[in-house]
């Protein structure tokens, strides 16, 4: 009897000890503003990052200065867009192709503004699609864009080379300033990438027409070597862009057509993601009507190779602040059998619906590479359209290929949103004739 009692006491004691240890682990997994999370205390970030990104912290690639946003994310939307958090409830749905449709008519809406699905029902089998559509139209709500981007190859030794290109996009859906503009082609948006350097690639340009509804996107490329505009296959969107660790669809973590993927919501959690600063960053207005940083602005987002003495990976953001945010975790698979990616896992901000992380597996199901986005919230100090602040992924993004131990960083020093529809971004530029004028 005595022995059994002793045994039972021992069992209980072991269980209690184990319980305390477990609780201790959970208690350790949290971050607070002011902390620095690196390889010495990576456990604190457990649960707040995708496993593969957590590995980056463990390996010393990422060093995270934890902070907290000093503004409400919803202030980064125009009031007219913020209204749609109420007015769009129940207005739209998703059809069998994954395309956005009007709930009442069942047809593809001619104009969509704001966030089409402000309320996400986690049990909805189309929840993943809806989050993806929110991402697309939410991003468009800032208006058309002209940005100059550095596409940088980075090895463990540091910066290797770069391609400069300009990116111009004309947003038809989700963009308040495009209201009333004729859209007979039923575009969702049109965009152009044009390489400006180095000399041997300068003039290469890619144009994409993204249609609303289940119409295949049209992609065109101008190749200086043949001096002509050439049609390209949509499958080439998963081809490595100029041989880098990005493909075209990796722009802003997902640049492709929503209905080309099968999206599925698989979870909701709190995540940590990179933001340029805790407070919005001030933009000025240029004489031509665009907005951007002052010309002498130096406080750009920097990456490891740009910061002397940086201890993390050369491709890691070095002066970002990492903040906690509610996130949706969404899994995506390409419908195209020729697409080069297998499973993709996205972490989306649950309020802005912008992607924060992208984890890519190959077609055999093995983990291949991870990507993260750095966001900036701009404050113009004046009404632009009908808002003054907006959240944008122009801080940059990184893709790190685990197999080759190589990364590509894409960032723009002087991103400029433009809110006058035709002043700087002219929709005629996105026609065959207009596209050819970008070419040499």
């Amino acid at each position: 009897m005595k022995n059994i009692s002793m045994m039972r006491c021992m069992e209980v004691f072991v269980v209690v000890v184990l319980l305390f240890i477990s609780l201790g682990q959970f208690a350790m997994a949290d971050v607070s503003p002011g902390e620095v999370i690196d390889k010495s205390n990576w456990e604190k970030a457990q649960g707040f990052l995708p496993e593969q990104i957590l590995e980056w912290v463990k390996k010393g690639y990422l060093i995270m200065n934890i902070g907290a946003l000093k503004y409400n994310m919803k202030d980064a939307f125009a009031p007219s867009v913020y209204e749609t958090f109420t007015t769009n409830v129940g207005k739209y749905d998703v059809d069998k192709y994954g395309e956005l449709i009007d709930q009442k008519t069942g047809k593809y809406p001619y104009e969509i503004y704001g966030i089409p699905f402000p309320v996400i029902d986690e049990k909805d089998p189309n929840a993943g699609f809806k989050i993806a559509h929110n991402m697309r139209t939410g991003r468009s709500s800032g208006g058309h864009l002209y940005a100059e981007i550095d596409h940088c190859w980075v090895s463990p030794r540091g910066f290797e080379r770069k391609i400069n290109f300009s990116y111009i996009t004309y947003q038809y859906t989700g963009n308040p300033t495009a209201k009333g503009i004729p859209n007979p082609d039923n575009f969702e948006r049109t965009n152009i990438f044009k390489v400006t350097a180095p000399f041997d690639l300068a003039g290469t340009a890619i144009m994409a027409w993204n249609y609303q509804g289940p119409v295949e996107d049209a992609n065109f490329a101008y190749v200086p070597a043949i001096r002509r505009v050439r049609r390209t296959s949509p499958a080439s969107r998963s081809d490595a862009l100029f041989g880098s660790d990005f493909c075209i669809d990796d722009g802003d973590l997902f640049e492709g057509k929503i209905s080309t993927m099968n999206w599925k919501l698989i979870g909701k959690t709190i995540g940590i993601f990179a933001h340029r600063s805790e407070a919005p960053m001030r933009w000025i207005r240029y004489p031509d009507g665009g907005y951007g940083f002052p010309k002498d602005f130096k406080n750009y987002l920097k990456y490891g190779w740009e910061v002397p003495g940086w201890k993390g990976a050369p491709w890691a953001p070095a002066n970002a602040v990492w903040v906690k945010r509610p996130v949706y975790i969404v899994e995506a698979y390409a419908k195209d059998p020729y697409y080069n990616y297998g499973r993709q896992i996205f972490w989306f901000d649950a309020e802005s619906f912008q992607p924060l992380y992208k984890i890519i597996y190959d077609r055999a199901g093995k983990y291949w590479k991870g990507g993260l986005m750095v966001y900036i919230t701009y404050d113009t100090g004046q009404k632009v359209g009908d808002f003054d602040k907006f959240n944008d992924p122009s801080g940059g993004e990184v893709f790190f290929d685990e197999r080759t131990n190589h990364a590509t960083v894409q960032h723009c020093h002087m991103g400029a949103w433009v809110h006058r529809a035709d002043k700087y971004v002219n929709k005629n530029d996105f026609t065959l004739a207009g596209f050819q004028k970008f070419c040499k």
């Binding site: 290797e160 180095p198 000399f199 002509r228 004739a433 004028k437």
Partner: protein, 528 residues
């Protein structure tokens, strides 16, 4: 008096070095904080060695002298040095009236091929020989404003005015609708990139985007006008004795001892009625098919010789004065045609096609262009030839597919591009020939069939994060000639290193004319 090429080359190299250190390496050099004014460029040197004995075909006699141009294996046949300097300036800071957007572009070029100064003896001697076709000093180096134009745009209207290249059509490697700009084949013909061979023309080019018209979206009209009063550039002819010169046919095959014989070229006169101009309509049908129809007048690059008798004496105690005219002004043609390309999703392939109808193409029929002398008086009487014309239909069907061959490349696709070219001559004459004599017989010319065809294939991909780019191009003439062009380029910013092998094998037909010019090239480029 032109400055010495060496001094110009050194000067531009110094400028390149300054820009490289003053600006950012492997990036554009901006002159202003707003990045509206940029300078960039490249310096390139290309060494080419013959890998095949060209004895025989390029061995010919010239004029008074006897110039043997046999180039043995291993000899340097090209040391081409190029400097490009490009300026782009967007004048957006100026408030132009009516919201016009204006920018300009200038591309300066210096080239110098050193083989005529320090190359094999056979090329150093070319300049010593009387060469009426072209002075070798003019041929071996030049500095010019290669391109210069102003872009003016407003809404759907776009104008480009100045010296520029314009390419229509869908074909690669060979040209059908893409005959607006002449080609300079004097420094490597088909072994050189097509784009490097284009000669810009001074022209006005404009387009107007009309928009959606019924099922056609992005409908636009485009036109160009290269005024003949100012612009009469045509494809140059390589001086005989240079590495890529074809041999020149002899009249009637009879060498006339002591005859005064001249070869000369005719360029179009500078006249308004010698202008090049054209119009194209293009659009996208049913959101998937790019369609274009075009019509334009231009000058073809092909050589069309004819015998010209300047003077002959009877009885012929005094030798006749003859000439072989390589006439470009006669090669003014009208070209009408159309092209299309579209993406076929079931086979994940871009299909493109082009057809061109060429009106009044000069052809070479020896009995007409270079008639045999008349012996009815008991001594040869030479006759001036004529240039006959025929209409031709040329077409191409092409397929472009990005293929994953993951066993060979897990990260990038292979671009596979196939083309089938066809050419049909209307009112065919069985004596239509290429104006190139068949070695060893200098009076026998290569026949051209009523229907000719060529098949091309290209495959390329990228490795090492885009730093290594292998490519293989092959062209096959079913009459028995094949072109092989494997190449590999390595990028190590700001340098590019390219190794290319060029070979033509098979019979003496079509492109087989140059089957004894196989070569290997090493190109080093420095970008700034």
């Amino acid at each position: 008096m032109k400055a010495k090429p060496w001094s110009l080359l050194m000067g531009l190299c110094c400028l390149g070095v300054i820009l490289l250190w003053g600006g950012r390496a492997h990036a554009v050099f901006y002159l202003d904080a707003d990045k509206t004014f940029d300078i960039s460029g490249q310096i390139q040197t290309r060494l080419t060695f013959r890998t095949q004995d060209s004895k025989g075909f390029t061995n010919f006699e010239l004029g008074f002298g006897n110039v043997k141009t046999h180039v043995p294996v291993g000899h340097l046949v090209q040391h081409r040095n190029l400097v490009y300097l490009e300026v782009n300036h967007d004048l957006k800071k100026i408030q132009w009236p009516w919201d016009f957007k204006i920018k300009y572009h200038i591309l300066g070029r210096l080239y110098y091929d050193g083989i005529y100064d320090y190359g094999p003896h056979v090329f150093r001697k070319v300049g010593d020989t009387y060469n009426p076709v072209r002075d070798i000093d003019d041929f071996k180096w030049d500095v010019d404003l290669r391109e210069y134009y102003v872009d003016i745009s407003r809404g759907p209207l776009f104008l480009r005015i100045g010296r520029q290249n314009l390419s229509w059509g869908e074909a690669d490697v060979f040209r059908l609708l893409d005959n607006i700009n002449p080609l300079d084949n004097t420094f490597g013909f088909i072994f050189e990139d097509l784009n490097d061979r284009r000669i810009p023309l001074r022209m006005i080019r404009g387009s107007y985007n009309i928009g959606k018209v019924g099922p056609i979206s992005s409908f636009a009209v485009e036109g160009f006008f290269a005024p003949g009063a100012f612009e009469h550039t045509v494809a140059p002819i390589p001086p005989p004795g240079t590495p890529y010169a074809p041999p020149v046919p002899r009249p009637g095959g009879i060498p006339i001892p002591g005859s005064i014989f001249d070869e000369f070229t005719e360029k179009p006169d500078r006249r308004w009625d010698n202008s090049r101009f054209g119009l194209r309509l293009q659009g996208v049908l049913f959101e998937n098919v790019n369609l274009a129809i075009a019509g334009y007048r231009t000058y073809l690059d092909d050589l069309t010789p004819r015998l010209v008798v300047f003077q002959q004496f009877q009885p012929p105690a005094i030798p006749p004065i003859l000439g072989l005219e390589l006439n470009r002004s006669e090669s003014k043609v009208w070209i009408f045609g159309g092209s299309l390309n579209y993406y076929e999703k079931h086979i994940d392939t871009v299909i493109r096609s082009e057809v061109a109808y060429l009106n009044d193409v000069p052809v070479f029929i020896p009995r007409i262009n270079t008639p045999d002398p008349d012996f009815s008086l008991g001594f040869p009487q030479f006759l001036t030839g004529e240039i006959p014309k025929r209409d031709e239909v040329r077409f191409v069907v092409g397929l472009d597919k990005d293929v994953w061959i993951r066993a060979l490349n897990k990260k990038n696709t292979f671009l596979v591009s196939l083309q089938y070219f066809g050419q049909y001559i209307r009112d065919y004459d069985k004596d239509i020939k290429m104006a190139v004599p068949k070695f060893p017989n200098s009076t026998d010319f290569i026949s051209i069939k009523r229907y000719e065809q060529t098949i091309t294939a290209l495959i390329n991909t990228k490795y090492m994060n885009g730093n290594l780019k292998p490519e293989f191009v092959v062209a096959y003439d079913p009459r028995g000639a094949v072109l092989l062009l494997p190449s590999i380029q390595y990028e190590w910013d700001p340098f590019r290193i390219k190794l290319q092998y060029g070979a033509i094998l098979g019979k003496f037909t079509g492109m087989g004319v140059f089957r004894d010019r196989d070569q290997v090239s090493l190109t080093l480029t420095w970008l700034f």
